[in-house]
Subunit: 722 residues, 2 copies
């Protein structure tokens, strides 16, 4: 069921309605009345006849009409019975404020499950529990009791009441912006993040979605939805719980798993989400993206009235990946014509006193700069807004003129302007005018730079990165019958691990190059097999009971003749028996020695938030220590595979260093794609580990492959499907 009747409810029952002004059951009704909620309010309390002039009902079921939403302000233990009662009156959604559920441990979790069961039985969707509530600002449907929340075009979705309060307070004090909806997701017991997202995507008044997340229950569905949403509406998100203490804190707060943070950040960004790490930048980023067009070419100009701010801004923007291009000669000429001799007319432009007695020149400069085709946006830094305060009151009007002009310029040129002003806290009218036109103004230089940074980031995403992947698995579609048989066979034998030979066989089935290994049951057979191979060989024990072959001294490398091979065979067999007397021995795998190349590793795992993810990195001792690896949520596209390879710091090694020929990156891309395909084809696979893979100048070799399976009962798709 959609959320229409919940978030746009036409009637509300307040369960636990009260006459005591400090109670939520009072505050909510007061706020609904004061703010002019357009629907019907039903106070519910068996002990009261009326509250604030409204008739009070002893229970929800005794309300004479059907009710859309119940705000439940009673203690946790009472909630199942209240829901039961709500069911009788056709209630479609409930907002459960109480704490004492999943976030407190096993007992609370059991109560939460009971509540869920009641909700499902009665077809009631739940917001919370453990939530501050929700507000629909368009209908004045305020179930939080937080007054004066400003209206606007941002939807706010958070997992912390305090963060909501923080963001709403910032909106009020720092901007002219406001909200369409606020939802505190609480424990996310029923309605999940992605469902709210889908609703906001459809909402015609919402221009951007602002999120604070501690942990998600269904990360993959969220990504699937976010991927669709960000094509038309920006999502700005801060995910806390990076540190171990932060994770713990998040766990006790909403009971959610905080997940692998490196995976999460990569996954969010791939879905086009603007991930914010500094909480000061969260609201400003949303303000900016809900008001201004994204920057198409990632290039901006800086307009300053002093060297210090210009220098710091250039540093900060460079760190944010924004370019500060040289201006065209024509642009410089025009600037020179209106600025004094000491002015810097390259980028950053420094007016060097040229605005001291006429700050309206800021608008003229802005106009010249934004007409330069190399420039995608403008950051104004310094005193603008303070000339009337600092120098002479008469200058304030010129600043207001400039503000008007710059505001209109944003629309006419469709290029964003962001303003940093040292005088922001003095609230001059010119800065308010800028905000009227949607130009964000901040007193923090870092925050102003970040606003430019997110416009550039979203612009880059829209330009190059959409339509790549939608995080949807087509489970089993590309499975090969032989592959299925291999896995079923292992599971049938009670094995949760494939033999190396089986794992390599699976890769071969999916088009990946594997060495032509031969399983030999006798020393003579091993010697014969080696005779058919070019160059030296390695022997490896093959046993379902020996997972780590080296630990069992089950691998001998670099054998060049029959005598060595036979001796090695015997030795390996003896070692295997010594390691584990009852091990089932399939034989010894004879593998051609692989020529030299660059060592890489590839692995897959199941992340608790996002399901199957893939890891790639350069192998070897150094990288083991430096941990230069990268993650993606599966499935991946060829383009993503290329990006994974390129974004590891050590990737230049694959281009060939010190005069070497380049290594075969295309083969590596193919292998990553094969891994993605295999995970999608066989949902029974739990983990996959290729370590090492040797990349050659032409082609590559999978030296070792390990595949772990899920226990039978889990072998149905664990991750959600589309």
């Amino acid at each position: 069921m959609g959320l229409e009747h919940v978030l746009n409810a036409g009637s509300v029952a307040v369960v636990g309605a009260s006459k005591v002004p400090t109670k939520r059951g009072y505050q909510t009704i007061r706020t609904l009345l004061d703010e002019g909620y357009e629907g019907i309010i039903y106070p519910v309390n068996p002990k009261e006849k009326s509250i604030m002039g409204l008739h009070c009902f002893p229970s929800v079921s005794e309300i004479p009409e059907d009710v859309d939403v119940a705000l439940i302000a009673t203690p946790a233990r009472t909630v199942p019975a209240v829901l039961e009662d709500c069911g009788k009156r056709g209630v479609k959604g409930a907002v459960i404020l109480a704490t004492g559920f999943g976030e407190t441990g096993a007992e609370g979790k059991a109560l939460e499950n009971k509540v869920l069961e009641k909700a499902w039985q009665n077809q009631i969707r739940l917001i919370g529990p453990n939530t501050s509530g929700m507000i629909n600002l368009k209908a004045n449907l305020n179930l939080v009791g937080l007054k004066d929340t400003p209206k606007g075009n941002i939807a706010l979705l958070t997992q912390s009441g305090n963060m909501a309060l923080t963001l709403i307070t910032e909106a009020k004090l720092q901007s002219r912006k406001g909200f369409t909806y606020y939802v505190g997701v609480g424990n996310e017991a029923d309605i999940r993040f992605h469902e709210y997202l889908e609703f906001f995507q459809q909402d015609p008044d919402t221009r951007a979605i602002l999120m604070y997340v501690e942990g998600m229950r269904e990360g993959r569905k969220f990504l699937q939805q976010a991927y669709k949403t960000t094509e038309t509406k920006p999502i700005i998100l801060l995910k806390s719980g990076r540190s171990s203490t932060g994770k713990q804190s998040a766990g006790s707060h909403t009971g959610a798993l905080a997940g692998m943070s490196r995976v999460a950040k990569g996954a969010f960004e791939r879905a086009g989400i603007i991930v914010i790490e500094n909480s000061d930048e969260l609201f400003p980023a949303a303000e900016t993206l809900s008001s201004l067009p994204p920057i198409k070419n990632s290039k901006i100009a800086i307009l300053a009235d002093g060297g210090g701010h210009a220098t710091i801004a250039a540093d900060t923007l460079t760190d944010l990946g924004v370019d500060i291009p040289e201006l065209e000669e024509k642009t410089k000429r025009k600037l020179r014509a209106i600025l004094p001799g000491g002015a810097a007319v390259r980028n950053p432009v420094d007016v060097a006193g040229g605005t001291d007695d006429n700050p309206a020149i800021f608008a003229d400069c802005a106009n010249i700069i934004l007409s330069d085709p190399r420039v995608g946006g403008l950051l104004v830094v310094g005193l603008f807004g303070g000339y009337g305060i600092r120098f002479a009151a008469s200058l304030a009007m010129m600043e207001e003129d400039a503000a008007h002009q710059m505001g209109k310029m944003v629309k006419s040129r469709n290029k964003p302007i962001v303003v940093h002003s040292l005088y922001n806290s003095e609230k001059p009218h010119s800065l308010d005018l800028l905000r009227y036109y949607g130009v964000p103004v901040y007193g923090s230089l870092d925050v102003a730079c970040k606003c430019m940074g997110v416009l550039a980031q979203y612009g880059r995403y829209l330009k190059s990165y959409h339509a790549v992947s939608n995080f949807v698995f087509n489970w089993g579609a590309k499975a090969k019958p032989e592959g299925r048989k291999l896995i079923d066979n292992a599971l049938g034998e009670g094995r949760l691990v494939l033999l190396e030979s089986e794992a390599k066989q699976l890769f071969k089935l999916h088009g990946a190059p594997v060495t032509g290994d031969v399983l030999a049951k006798t020393a003579d057979a091993a010697a014969d097999a080696a005779g058919q191979m070019q160059g030296n060989v390695a022997l490896k024990i093959s046993s379902p009971d020996i997972l780590h072959k080296s630990d069992a001294n089950g691998v001998i490398l670099n054998l060049s003749n029959k005598k060595q091979i036979k001796k090695a065979f015997t030795e390996i067999m003896r070692n295997a028996k010594a390691y584990r007397a009852d091990a089932r021995i399939e034989g010894v795998l004879v593998c051609p020695m692989v020529e030299k190349g660059v060592e890489v590793i590839i692995g897959t795992k199941i992340d608790d938030q996002f399901g199957p993810v893939i890891m790639y990195g350069l192998g070897g001792v150094l990288v083991e220590i430096i941990k230069d690896v990268t993650f993606r949520v599966l499935p991946i596209t060829r383009r993503t595979a290329q990006k994974m390879i390129e974004e590891t710091k050590s990737s230049p090694i694959l281009n060939g260093v010190r005069g070497e020929a380049p290594y075969d990156k295309k083969a590596l891309v193919n292998l990553l794609m094969a891994c993605s395909e295999i995970i999608e084809a066989y949902p029974q696979i739990h983990e996959l580990d290729l370590n090492p893979v040797i990349v050659h100048h032409q082609g590559l070799s999978i030296v070792d492959a390990r595949i772990l399976l899920k226990p039978e009962k889990e072998s149905q798709p664990a991750g959600p499907t589309a």
Copy 2:
């Protein structure tokens, strides 16, 4: 001459005094009069009889008494003559406001030099040129004309007028703090950063020094001074010009070189300076360090009234290297006794509504938490200060009570408290009270965390890192006569490069292990020399004209018998002639092949701000790409050498990986120390390059050594001495 008479001037001549209110020559006199400057003011202007009731003098030389300081508000070209005139009246210092000097290019630089010459001739110290001026707030000596700068205990030293304005505005609006002095260093033509620093160190009223720097003229002297200053007073510094655009911008702003930023940051931190990278955090860090005791154990507790803020704070503090320890059982027990059941009593502590009707409990919690010996400081995050606003006005008094108690607690327990408050911008009285006791309060969670971070950082520095090195060279002290001869000999031959054999000889003289190489002039001699060595050998061309031996095919490795050696000798000689027919050939160096080990590189260079610096990193292809290297300003101590080795990301390799024995880090420390000693011993050395060095399980081998010399005329110490 000290700066006493300049910064604490008892009389001021204002050259370019004016009756026009928009002129600096008016504003300065106005401000001096309005603010009650304690000394004597002499307006100087040949066209006026009096200004604002003060007698006006036609020139400085016609003032009847000696004058301490002249504020020169006339254009750049007039300055030399004004200084000449000032000299006649015994002026001790001049503040030169004009732009148009070194920052504009060669012509301006020439004028700046002329000004400097006049100043030296007349024994006048200069602030600027290209400065906004200076303020001594203790004497109401305000030469900037910026009114209402708050008084306090922070000295402000910046290279940008706008950044000064920013910081002063923040002090006024965000804190109860203020300044002892403000100096705009401008082009730093005469008085340098380190001289101001020395002055502020002596000033009894200054508790912390706040700096904004774009580039320095004498970085090493600054470090030497900073190292002494930070032992008793914190220095908080933001250095801009990290990015290439930022560097350019800084260059056109003050004409200073921005230097190597990685070197600068490392050097500053080694001198105990708190380096800030985010401009929003600059003033708050200074406010905090000028008010609160540093945190001794780097461990803090978080006290929150909501999960979101606690989680974000835990993440941010962890990123800042601050620990969030488990509290003692006793502490948890006491907290449990006063907080509701749902509260989290581990760290972060979440009161979970326990303060809703009694925010005074914050102080009780703070008291319990700070009595825990594991806790070095407390960060309070959330709504504190806003209970009276949000819930009921009667709660405001309880908040004020709590503020009083927490403020006193800071003194009595000598442990810092920092407060984040969502209601900061509403300016409730309780938050003002906290500030009265020196507790910083910020509306930004990130900034509040950073305040804790700098207290922990300064505490760590004071505890473990002082008394290590003072950045002072004792040039030549440890030179060996034989070493001097080697270098003089090369310079005598007109060579600016030592032969490999000479460079290795130099290292040997200073106790570093070098391979027992032998220079052979004939093939037979080479073969004989190899016969005396253990294992295989390498042959390398030895020629003052062939710097890069491999490029000339002048190296052949891994030779095992006489025949091979003789053949290789002939081949190298032929290659050398082919590479450069007129090359002077000394012979061929026979070197024992070095056993395997970990490859590292060591180099030294001359940094334009700090003089000699040393670089260390692991060698090999991977690290070449990852650039995992570290820098220090020379000379270094053994402790620093150890730290350099440990702080490279790949350093665990030296501990032995995959079951290997550890490598000889002690030998590596010795080699770094030898490099430091050699640079100190022979000021003629320009660059030194050991690449590679192979570190063994026992000892190490310098495989190749290259030393470049400075041209004769520069061979005197280039960096300043103590």
